[in-house]
């Protein structure tokens, strides 16, 4: 029923005994207390609000059990800024007013932080294609695309 896990989140190791059925998103929010990762579609896996990076790759944390992340490294929105310095995407989202209610923003940033790391000039079509797994009900995406466009293709990102 329970299993011991050791999951690194934003550089800090969390060792806990958790129910096997505990979803990774609930481990992040309720066990680690990091509530920047959101639950939008109530665990159906379609909205992308719970997107985090698993060993650097964007995944939906509601489609994994916490036990599946044992021994692996997670980055959440709380780990995106380094030493108080905003990730270029975070700054661009500010500059372009790329959020309204902000509920989807954490998931979009964690997905796009991996996407822009490829460090090549990305077209608007590619950016929009990469956003398919993240629903935003406020902005109409235009400002989000503008913000990502500004960062995509600029020198290598760290996150």
């Amino acid at each position: 029923m329970n299993k011991e896990v050791s999951i690194k989140i934003n550089g800090e190791v969390y060792r806990n005994s958790v129910p096997i059925r505990l979803l990774l998103v609930d481990f992040i929010r309720d066990v680690a207390g990091l509530t920047g990762t959101h639950v939008g579609c109530t665990f159906e896996g379609v909205c992308g609000a719970c997107t985090v990076q698993l060993d650097g790759e964007a995944v939906k944390s509601c489609l994994m059990l916490a036990v599946q992340a044992d021994g692996r490294s997670i980055t959440t929105i709380e780990g995106l800024a380094v030493d108080g310095k905003l990730h270029p995407l975070q700054k661009a989202f500010n500059d372009h007013h790329a959020l309204q209610c902000g509920f989807c923003s954490a998931g979009i940033l964690m997905n796009m932080a991996e996407f822009v790391r490829t460090n090549r000039k990305l077209t608007e079509d590619e950016i929009r294609g990469a956003l398919i797994g993240n629903l935003c009900r406020c902005t109409g995406y235009a400002h989000i695309v503008d913000a990502i466009k500004e960062v995509a293709g600029t020198p290598a990102q760290s996150a």
Binding site: M1, I20, F43
Partner: protein, 295 residues
């Protein structure tokens, strides 16, 4: 939606360990691959595993290997890795067409070809693609190994020939003829949506650039993915510049398929989609096959 209680979780690192974990787990044991479909079913409690056997650390199930043009794709190879592999271009490029538009980036970072085939969802892209390119499916259990053609393995929606205690280890593809090409395309209600219909074409050309072998496979059907043999026959002898021959074959293919009406498309519209998609993927497959001729 939240999973029911799960008693055991195993994360084996080899196929043998995974088979043993299943034997130990008994009834209600399930293998999980990328989990992008199965976890939804577990959360909805359509499936309530007592033992979950996670294949994510079984490295022998991962990766794409090439030998003289023949290809072996480990069952746990993810969409993102298939979508990125230029070694598949030409004969087996349909796999890249399909893998690069499954779900979304996050799904492609986790979802696997083996998982998709074992789930055989009605609106999945890997099943018709694997039938179209003539793939074989390698399975293993404690009783031994067997290999099935994709079209034998895949049955009605959510049904396959896999026994509960079997693991799909790989998808294999034979050395293709030099001038062969494939393509896959789907149509859904919005960009990259689950397909209402999807078609895969595989074409092999003779020395004069005429089609000497064709396979067409259609997905999005209530009967499960299936070949359109009448369309395949109609393509024999057709060349890339024979637009009316290709159109005719596409029409024949669509006419030969039994389509269903559902909330996304009525039966007649689905036939129109299949005809249009067939025309497009056949044309693309011809171009890709033609490239192989000069290489």
């Amino acid at each position: 939606m939240y999973p029911a209680v799960i008693d055991n979780y195993d994360a084996p690192t080899s196929v043998q360990e995974a088979l043993q974990a299943f034997a130990n787990g008994g009834n209600s044991s399930f293998f999980v691959a990328g989990g992008q479909s199965l976890m939804q079913a577990i959360k909805a409690r359509i499936i309530s595993p007592k033992t979950l056997i996670d294949l994510q650390h079984v490295s022998e199930l991962k990766g794409i290997q090439f030998a003289n043009g023949a290809v072996r794709i480990g069952a746990m190879t993810r969409y993102r890795d298939i979508a990125a592999d230029e070694g598949l271009d030409g004969a087996y490029q349909a796999l890249r067409d399909a893998a690069s538009h499954v779900g979304d980036r996050q799904v492609r970072n986790r979802g696997t070809i083996g998982g998709s085939l074992c789930w055989n969802y009605i609106a999945a892209c890997m099943p018709p693609t694997c039938i179209g390119i003539g793939a074989s499916i390698d399975l293993v259990s404690k009783k031994g190994k067997r290999t099935l053609l994709a079209e034998e393995f895949l049955r009605g929606p959510l049904e396959t020939s896999r026994h509960d205690d079997e693991i799909v280890v790989a998808v294999t593809l034979p050395t293709p003829a030099k001038s062969s090409g494939s393509a896959y395309k789907k149509w859904g209600l919005v960009t990259d949506a689950l397909p209402v219909a999807g078609v895969c074409a595989f074409i092999e050309l003779d020395n004069d650039g005429r089609c000497q072998l064709a396979r067409l496979a259609v997905g999005g059907l209530a009967t499960g993915p299936r070949r359109a043999e009448a369309g395949e026959k109609a393509l024999i002898g057709v060349s890339a510049i024979d637009a009316s021959g290709i159109s005719e074959a596409a029409g024949t293919a669509a006419a030969s398929i039994n389509t269903q009406s559902d909330m996304w498309a009525d039966a007649e519209y689905r036939k129109t989609l299949i005809e249009t998609l067939t025309r497009e993927v056949v044309a693309t497959a011809f171009v890709r096959a033609g490239r192989g001729k000069h290489s």
